[in-house]
Amino acid sequence: MTVIQPILTLLVVGAVIAYFVWLRSRLADRLIVLVVAAAAIVLVGNPDLATLLAHSVGVGRGVDVIIYLTLFGYGFLGMLLISKVRGLEARLAELAQALALATASKPGEGSVRSDAR
């Protein structure tokens, strides 16, 4: 392992956490997905670019850089999905809670509530 690899790993993990905790926005999500897709297209069309990029950051082969970037992309998408699912769950919970409050019954309303379900 080269010296740069753990440093790069820490930087990427730190950047992802910072993004999800402080910087996330819908526009930024979309921009990142677009940038990753554009980078993929450019690298597929110009494999030598990957090798150049690899040498510039101290990694031997271009294919390794692509694997690292792919792993990063998968990790990012995974976290994006978790984040979206949690957002949906929160909204679903609010809806269910509002429904429960709207249909609450007081003591003595037993017949009403058993009919309502």
């Binding site: 919970a93 429960a100 609450a104 019954s105």
Partner: protein, 228 residues
């Protein structure tokens, strides 16, 4: 104390064997009982509907934290002076509610948390493995919330109306216990602990899976930190 102004919130999910007796015991003390059925698939809701309690039902299962939040929102709407969180599995004792709310009534505290580890006679009742997991939970809670307590994840607690209004539980699962502490600290509320006895009945033990719950809680807390 006007006991009718104390709203006891009982979240319930598939507790048909115990919920009836638990609600009746609370009613016998004259408290206002708010039963929140969390989308039970057994007969819990039917049992609840036969009793003179305030009854609410989530159309789907959301988790204990969400049920407590629904109950608190309802209680505040109905003019509660105090709210008490009380489990539906028969682990808590209605006769201890008086001790739990006393520090709030005397103006000493805004929130009182029940603790199993303040009296030797109570802590001796906690099964060994559960006690170990709970102790680990105390450390994790302390690190995450800055509140170092003798017990955590004890569902028996009392809040003044002001305190209940100041917090908002968003964490649906078991991690809500840690979330409550973080919210209390954020709202600068006065918190004290009160010794309570938790009855580990065969039924309660058969339902509890402390290790699995502990792992779930830690994962939930990490996700909560990351995706606020």
């Amino acid at each position: 104390m006007n006991r009718a102004s104390v709203f006891v919130i009982v979240p319930c999910y598939n507790e048909e064997r115990t919920v009836g007796a638990v609600l009746e015991s609370l009613l016998s003390f004259g408290y206002t009982v708010v039963a929140v059925d969390d989308g039970s698939t057994d007969n819990s809701w039917k049992v609840t509907c036969t009793l003179p309690v305030h009854a609410l039902r989530h159309p789907i299962n959301l988790g204990q934290g969400a049920a407590l939040q629904t109950g608190m929102s309802y209680a505040l709407r109905e003019g509660a002076a105090l709210v008490v969180h009380f489990d539906a599995d028969g682990q808590h004792a209605a006769e201890q509610i008086g001790d739990l709310v006393a520090p709030i009534l005397s103006g000493e505290a805004d929130v009182v948390l029940g603790s199993r580890f303040l009296r030797k006679s109570d802590s001796e009742l906690v099964p060994f493995v559960r006690a170990l997991v709970l102790k680990a939970g105390i450390v994790i809670n302390g690190l995450l919330t800055g509140m170092w307590l003798h017990d955590t994840h004890n569902g028996f607690r009392a809040l003044s109306a002001r305190a209940a209004r100041a917090i908002r539980l968003r964490e649906s699962g078991f991690a809500h216990a840690t979330e409550i502490l973080a919210e209390l600290r954020g709202a600068r509320l006065r918190v004290v602990e009160c010794p309570v006895t938790v009855r580990y009945t065969e039924y309660a033990l058969s339902k509890g899976q402390p290790m699995r719950n502990a792992v779930n809680i830690v994962v939930d807390l990490c996700l909560r930190k990351l995706f606020r």
